[in-house]
């Protein structure tokens, strides 16, 4: 049974991030990240969303944040407006 949720947060000194997520028991099924942040290269947002799909629940937050950071590092990406840990917090809230 799929459950859908969303969470929105304006990061202090940063940007607004919205996460729409769905999950089945024990597993993330889909993640969509939207907002007025900046990410270069832009296409990386899809990879980030894909990387979160299939993650086991309950979410290992530190591990998920580290994984996101290594995705950014691998492409020398610039992310402005939120940090990987912020995204994981918002994702967790969306999954509640």
């Amino acid at each position: 049974m799929l459950k859908q949720g969303k969470a929105i947060k304006k990061i202090p000194g940063g940007k607004l991030v919205r996460v729409d997520a769905s999950h089945s028991p024990g597993r993330i099924e889909s993640v969509k990240i939207t907002g007025d942040f900046f990410l270069d290269p832009a296409d990386l947002i899809v990879e980030i969303e894909d990387s979160l799909r299939g993650a086991k629940l309950p979410l290992e937050k530190a591990q998920a944040a580290a994984q996101l950071q290594s995705l950014l590092d691998a492409q020398s990406a610039t992310l402005i407006g939120f940090a990987p840990a912020d995204l994981v917090d918002i994702l967790e809230e969306a999954l509640q």
């Binding site: 940007k15 939207t34 907002g35 900046f38 990410l39 290269p41």
Partner: protein
């Protein structure tokens, strides 16, 4: 490097975004950097690359008002580009022309806007990450993208603003647009004519002068080839539902 500066001219939303991409292609192929000023005809809403269309735009209200909607290649927020209410600029060049640090590059280019306001006798300030403010109210929003060796920053300078119209077109975090909300935004957003009676042409001239300072600049225009390529991109990309509603 010598910049080609293209004076203010109106285009549709899709064309404006397509021209930026066309100019990026040209620079990637070795062309000179470009500074261009433009308006939006008809008026339009642009949303940031990562924004969810349905969360940001009241499309029915846009349709009713004859207002175009387009997605930018840059991040940032939703902007209402009133045909008579603002001037937009783009500056494009090879990455090597601009600071590698994102905030520093915003600071540099927003500095031109601050210089332009100073020429008009108005004190403005850079407000990181990407805004310019007057009396702590936002008067300019800016956004940039770096794609395969080419830098683009575009931004809008508010000349005259109707917060009420803006809110019929934009959706604000699912809250109902209340008088209270409009009042609070009026406290945070301003426009040139709210600060000082300045003619549109004076603003355009000040911006041209400010962007020319410390740069080698030559007045120019779009080439026919560029406009043809831009029309193609406007039709095949920027005006398609696949692009506008991508997220």
């Amino acid at each position: 490097m010598k910049y080609r500066m293209i004076p203010f001219r109106y285009f549709s939303a899709a064309m404006n975004m397509a021209i930026d991409e066309t100019l990026m292609e040209g620079i990637r192929a070795g062309g000179a950097p470009v500074i261009r000023f433009y308006g939006w005809e008809p008026s339009a809403v642009s949303i940031g690359y990562f924004q969810g269309l349905e969360y940001e735009v009241n499309r029915e209200a846009c349709r009713r008002g004859g207002v175009d909607v387009v997605r930018r290649i840059t991040g940032g927020g939703a902007v209402f580009h009133d045909r008579d209410g603002e001037i937009t600029y783009s500056i494009l060049g090879p990455l090597s022309e601009f600071p590698a640090d994102v905030i520093e590059s915003y600071r540099l280019i927003c500095g031109h806007l601050i210089d332009a306001f100073a020429m008009l006798g108005i004190e403005a300030a850079f407000q990181p990450i990407n805004d310019v403010t007057v009396d702590e109210k936002k008067i300019s929003g800016n956004a940039q993208a770096r794609k395969r060796g080419v830098f683009l920053q575009h931004g809008t300078i508010l000349y005259r603003v109707s917060v009420e119209t803006m809110f019929t077109l934009l959706t604000v975090s699912e809250e109902k647009v209340s008088d209270k909300l409009i009042r609070s935004v009026k406290k945070r957003v301003t426009s040139l004519t709210d600060v000082k009676p300045v003619a549109f042409e004076e603003l355009a001239a000040a911006l041209e002068r400010a962007f020319s300072q410390g740069r080698e600049v030559e007045l120019g225009d779009y080439t026919e080839e560029e406009l043809t390529r831009a029309r193609q991109l406007a039709a095949e990309k920027y005006s398609t539902e696949a692009w506008i509603a991508m997220r």
